[in-house]
Symmetry: C3
Subunit: 269 residues, 3 copies
């Protein structure tokens, strides 16, 4: 569908290489983040002690950060890990979870983005808008109101920070400032389960561990996660069974299903 993008190929690479994905993430969804990485064939490791994070980065293929339950000490460990990841040139994926809700979250997100190099920033519309310096009315960790066009905000943020920006929502946006994609896979049921946004971040981190084109990595991750959600929603009775089925479906996902169900669009600038 999109030139040079072979989603199945990237997906299969994960199962072959079993990349180690280092997380410094929040305490609410930490299990699901680890489990979703395992489901697609990666090897998750969650470690935050300042004495060991750089050493863990040395065996990892990507670094996944999420500030959902941040403390100042915890972000200091993130900085040590990010510096190590930047030196090793492995991708760093940040979810500025709850940016817009408190000054601490905004400040710490920007410290990570401005003082280090973050390869992919992933958030809902209000989180991305806040990071981009826009006026936002937030509602905690759920998406709040954004006054301006989120697509142009994402594109501009990607250009300014020279990174890839992912905005999750009814349709997901992926942009590196030059190329911009819309991913239409997914299901409304994802909004009724805590942690699906965090899991997406981990899935993107896992795809980025095996694919250098980070737009392609993010688009592929969103497509595979979204397709699994669509299949799972059809056989579920509510958010409990949906989550169980989501793990089953992602584990069983194959190339044929990806090719049949992929629903993405490239935006012409």
């Amino acid at each position: 569908m999109i030139k040079d993008l072979n989603i199945s190929d990237i997906f299969l690479r994960i199962r072959q290489r079993k990349p180690v994905i280092h997380h410094l993430t929040n305490w609410v969804t930490i299990y699901d983040c680890a489990n979703i990485v395992k489901c697609i064939g990666g090897s998750p490791i969650m470690a935050h002690a300042p004495e060991e994070v750089a050493e863990i980065v040395n065996i990892a293929s990507s670094l996944v950060l999420n500030i959902g339950t941040l403390t100042i000490d915890f972000v200091e460990s993130m900085k040590i890990a990010t510096r190590a990841a930047n030196l090793r040139k492995i991708p760093v994926i940040l979810d500025p979870c709850g940016a817009g809700a408190t000054g601490l979250r905004d400040r710490k997100s920007l410290e990570l983005i401005d003082f280090f190099y973050v390869d992919i920033i992933k958030g809902n519309s209000s989180e991305i808008a806040k990071i981009a310096g826009e006026d936002v009315k937030t509602k905690g960790v759920d998406a709040g109101e954004v006054k301006k066009d989120i697509l142009s905000i994402a594109r501009k943020l990607a250009k300014n920070k020279q990174c890839t920006v992912v905005v999750t929502g009814k349709e997901d946006i992926v942009s590196d400032g030059n190329s911009t994609y819309i991913v239409k896979n997914g299901d409304e049921m994802l909004t009724h389960v805590v942690g699906t946004g965090c899991m997406v971040n981990s899935v993107i981190g896992t795809f980025a561990a095996v694919e250098n084109n980070l737009c392609f990595a993010a688009v592929s991750a969103l497509v595979c996660f979204g397709i699994s959600a669509e299949i799972a929603a059809k056989i579920s009775k509510g958010p409990g069974s949906f989550k169980t089925n989501l793990f089953d479906c992602l584990f069983s996902l194959d190339s044929k299903t990806i090719e049949e169900m992929v629903n993405i669009e490239k935006i012409n600038e």
Copy 2:
């Protein structure tokens, strides 16, 4: 059944208003507490950094506390949040999880209750008895033995602390010292799954976010949670499937089912 108590109406208000429920809770069941709030239509946020808890309280409609994996620092954050919640007059719900098991838990629970205002105290019989100053033989976080009549202990505690007291058990007790209710909904399977007590605390916090009569809020929360458990138990093969079904059932709960299955009693003084 009980004058002026319309459970369905309170329940539907949650789905309409989507209140932000701020938690400082334990690390064991933090995910389930967030997910159960989302299931009934609320917007959970878990945040404990002392630098941001007061700011989070400012966007929240209730504050849920649980000392299950307390540390001294963590309780200090709880105090900052509780002070902010008291100033904003939003309800504070406390689960003194494991009170009776250690001096630290007893002391810290009482610091929260005595130095600040806690609107609802929720515990099993031994936790509530301990908080009330009674002699208790505890067994960790599971309910232990209580020598005296727990109903009169609950009523007296509510009167002394001018709050609402909830005692969970085979039948649940809700009392504000003046009015006392027994909730008979629920299922024995709840005792075989870790975290159902913590989830109840979060559900009560969510109902309290949209209903000023805190006895009504607590009774309604226990009824809706209990009915969902009854339905879930019927279609489950054990604690694993029960928990999955509990989320599905609470998500799908409707007014008709509530009215048909509600099982409560008002105690005459």
Copy 3:
């Protein structure tokens, strides 16, 4: 099958005595560790504040340690708890999770093992080999490569440290240096779910709480967990439903099933 070993008897003792199992464990799988203990009839308590761990040990029948998300402070609490457990002579079970991945993990595991008494050390092959001082190429928290024969490494480690060593893998090894057993129950699906190794550690801790022969306790735990996994795998579509079914199956496990499916071997020295 093995003289004097009555697995069903040990299993039923848990349901009768409902032992309190004190955990200081990692934040990733803490819920599942608590829930699996509850599933088999124990009463889990997770507590790590240095001010209360010794007091919790006083009501516990075993102490379960897991360094999966260790920090220096957290290990200090483990030491206080272990000292208390040693004084009370209740069994201490350690999972040196991720040993081999960082110097911190190796060092802290050995501090616990060398300065205190650990009754059971449980790990995958690379973790046990690392603790035993062997050359290991690790892959984070998943099992890495071990160059020498793991059976003789386990036996030697057990002898040196005068403890019971459990090595999990396709077949599990249990040795106290004198007697060595192979447990062949289990299913490959266990490798696709995060936390099954941590859960095994908790299950061993629960069996050790009611059985003084720690080899028998560990073998029985692995058999019961492994049989439940075999049954669960047959009725599951992937890792999501497998995990749900695993809890259901362990909860419903009975003596007849244990006797029919037990698959163990005693190694002659």
